[in-house]
Amino acid sequence: MAKLSFPVGPQHPALKEPENLRFSVDGELVVDADIRLGYVHRSIERSCSERNYVQDLYLCERVCGICSNAHTLAYCMAVEKLTEVEVPVRAQYIRMIVHEFERIHSHLLWLGVSGYEVGFESLLMYVWRDREIIQDILEMVSGNRGHYAMTTLGGVRYDITPEMEARIREGLQILRERAEYYADICTTEATFLKRVRDVGTISGDRCRELGAAGPTLRASGISFDIRTEFPYLQYDQVDWQVYTSELCDVLGRTLVRVQEVVEACDISLQALDQMPDGEIQARFPRRVPEGEATARVEAQRGELIYYVRSDGSDVPVRVKIRTPTLANLPAAMEMVTGGYVADIPIAFMSIDPCFSCTDRMVVLDDVGSGESRTMTWPELVRLGRQQ
């Protein structure tokens, strides 16, 4: 049988990384996968070196609508390293709490969408209903459902009041129970297991070689988490553990993420207990001393690294952003290769590539050779559900 190649994308909602995927298939097996980025390239890195440090804060926040707080956090940490500003302890706790809230909302989002990709739509509906709890909490704390603008240079912008605290605790209790329920479903529901077990497998060593990050790496049995490698904020003050899974497949990634939701609830609750009173923002100089700094945080999808270089003025020379999805892409390509066409959606989804927004579509591509045909993403998803 002749080899077919078909493109998926480019219309794909992502942070800096929208994708046009091109798969070569031999019958039902994927023999090659390739990727073309750049559809959502918004020239952010260059714009960053044309605006001042405060303006960059808002720009960095808008790199991604899902992990926006992780971006501001990493950016602020890098600039604070340069200016040697000490962030008040209370602000650090609040940062940590919002950081974990974001992890909860993002992982729940992923769980729902991955349920959708395997044809488990009730999971999508249930999870997204529960996700509104954390969205409400975030809105209460920051005033917005996305792009919270909580983290600012030198601290955080809003305090968590005792009234808020009560409602947060209540919400987190519910979420924790729900997350445990989902963990139960994911390990016992036969239809779900059939679609995720031994799909998109990749070994831990290969993951490390390809530079994969976050849950993708941890689901292959490698305990690598920036929160323990380079402890930032107050992560060394709370009691928590890094979850890993030896399964190396989509199921493993699902379990790691669901466990991280539980863990995130616990971290936030502990942080609320331990949080001291005090200032939430330190004075921040207008100019940043000459120098360079890197900052790493563990965003939901993995390690997020910022590099900031300053020449002593109020505009940075260079802001470099490496988002976790970029790190995970080579691994994702490997996961898909060798598997079935019907497993492409869920295997590719399993790195959480910001593939989050329900439906993608295919624009017929002109590059294809005579025997190339195209397949729409919905068709692909349908195929995935028939499996």
Binding site: G211, F224, E229, T294, E303, V317, R318, A327
Partner: protein, 157 residues
Amino acid sequence: MAVTASELVERIQAEYDGELTEAEATSEVDAWVGVPPEDVRGMARFIIDTWAPVYLSTITGVDTGRQIEVLYHFVTGGLALNVRAAVDKGVDEIDSITPLVPAAVLYEREVAEMLGVEMIGHPDPRRLVLPEDWPEGDYPLRRDERPTDREDEEDNG
């Protein structure tokens, strides 16, 4: 037994037999070393052999005026090891480390298209994020005068 960044730097100074243009620990976890651009692959080899498993976080390109600095951000055992190689403008090429570190494949493509540093020996030197109709020889993150800046903005609305 936690190793500090300064111990890391000392070990590089003692055991690495190539030329070092800088070697400094800027904090407890950040180490910076510099090598001439032609020695990048040797340095990468040395790091991999000495501290495996090593994790490459990313590669940054910075235009500093006369030179383009290519920075390799490695992580090993809770320490950040940053390697700097400054490429003169006009030379614009550096050895690719992808054959040694497969994780570098996308990062090197990004540096190549954004700053115009050719990666010699890269297995897949295509564009990564810039549009297909982007002019050749125009690198968005170079800080020189760029001929295509903003000119075509008008007719695109």
